[in-house]
């Protein structure tokens, strides 16, 4: 039997959060953490968590699994269980709505700040804006982000200043548009980032890289943004 400890908090009933212990029979199978959560939810329908695609595409079920942020649906027990114990908490740093569900408003507010859409005021061509294969290749490792918030909520700079520091996820997306050959707002985008908080609160500790379930590298993207700022300002 697997020992599972889960963070519980229902603000309408509980005065403060607590950890609830469960025992789960996985029949020795190396199932995913989400399977364990689903099994527990069948027994206790009050257990609350987000999930949707169950295959690491939608980014809904980001949780803190035995101390490391990740997606419950693609994290097997063999990676998450330590000493026959599985500890599941909500992603750290953002307000908890209930149990494993966090309020991601602040995360999305930072995402909105970087204007995550193409800006190009030149007349649209008849068919489409073309890119060379080399230009398109620059977006690899950037466009794959699913906004699960595992990286930003693993970042101490984001914990301390979630209202001012854009965070690794938002900055990865900022670079995705800075690197796009079809976008013409590079200077405006860079000007919006050159303050002591938005980009420069990143001290390069690389927690984001360690936890990203899609294997992306926000620290590298932040380095590219820094280089672009240096090029445009010197």
């Amino acid at each position: 039997m697997l020992n599972v400890s889960i963070y519980r908090y229902n603000p309408e009933v509980d005065s403060e959060p607590y950890m609830q212990d469960f025992k789960v029979d996985t029949q020795g199978k190396d199932v995913m953490v989400l399977d364990v959560l689903e099994k527990l939810k069948a027994e206790d329908p009050t257990l609350t968590f987000r999930r949707s695609c169950r295959e690491g595409v939608c980014g809904s079920d980001g949780v803190n699994i035995s101390g490391k942020n990740g997606l419950a649906c693609i994290t097997p027990l063999s990676e998450a269980v330590k000493g026959n114990k599985l500890v599941i908490r909500p992603l750290p740093g953002l307000p908890v709505i209930r149990d494993l569900v966090i309020d991601m408003s602040q995360f999305y507010a930072q995402y909105e700040k970087i204007q995550p859409y193409m800006i190009n005021n030149t007349p649209a061509p008849a068919i489409e804006r073309l890119q060379s294969p080399e230009e398109r290749a620059k977006l690899d490792g950037l466009y794959e982000c699913i906004l699960c918030a595992c990286c930003s909520t693993a970042c101490p700079s984001f914990w301390w200043n979630p209202d001012k520091f854009i965070g690794p996820s938002g900055l990865l997306q900022a670079y995705r548009f800075l690197a796009d050959s079809r976008d013409t707002a590079t200077e405006e985008r860079l000007a919006n980032l050159d303050d002591p908080f938005s980009v420069f609160r990143c001290h390069g500790i690389m927690n984001c890289v360690q936890v990203c379930p899609k294997g992306l590298n926000p620290t590298k993207a932040i380095g590219h943004i820094r280089s672009m700022l240096i090029r445009s300002a010197t």
């Binding site: 303050d195 938005s198 820094r226 300002a233």
Partner: protein, 122 residues
């Protein structure tokens, strides 16, 4: 764009560059001092005074002191804006942070002036 009036260079990029450049200057100064002491095991006060009274050495020391001041300002400003915030300390955070920031700036400037006085008083 997040604004800030107490940061050293007002811009994230300039603070970042100053932090890197000042780190290199301090490293060079420490390396020079270590080499100097290792190369002069029988160092006398007269030699030490002669080294520090040369204009080149005074300039090197002054640039290092200015680097320490800028580096410390930027670093301490980061620490204070990380930990002494409304979210972590409560409603008095702004007053406490400004008090420590201005105190830190005053002490830093005081040390710079004092160091210049020592350097040119040799």
């Amino acid at each position: 764009m997040v604004t800030s009036v107490t940061s050293f260079g007002r811009s994230g990029l300039s603070d970042w560059m100053i932090q890197r450049i000042s780190a290199w200057i301090m490293t060079a100064y420490v390396a020079f001092m270590v080499c100097y002491f290792v190369g002069n095991p029988e160092l006398t006060y007269a030699q030490w005074a002669e080294l520090n009274s040369s204009l080149a050495m005074r300039m090197f020391s002054l640039v290092t002191i200015l680097s320490i001041a800028a580096h410390a300002w930027i670093g301490m400003w980061c620490v204070l804006t990380d930990y002494v915030t409304l979210r972590l300390v409560g409603p008095k955070a702004t007053a406490i942070r400004i008090f420590f920031q201005l105190g830190m700036i005053a002490i830093t400037l005081l040390y710079v002036v004092w160091a210049i006085d020592i350097l040119w008083g040799i």
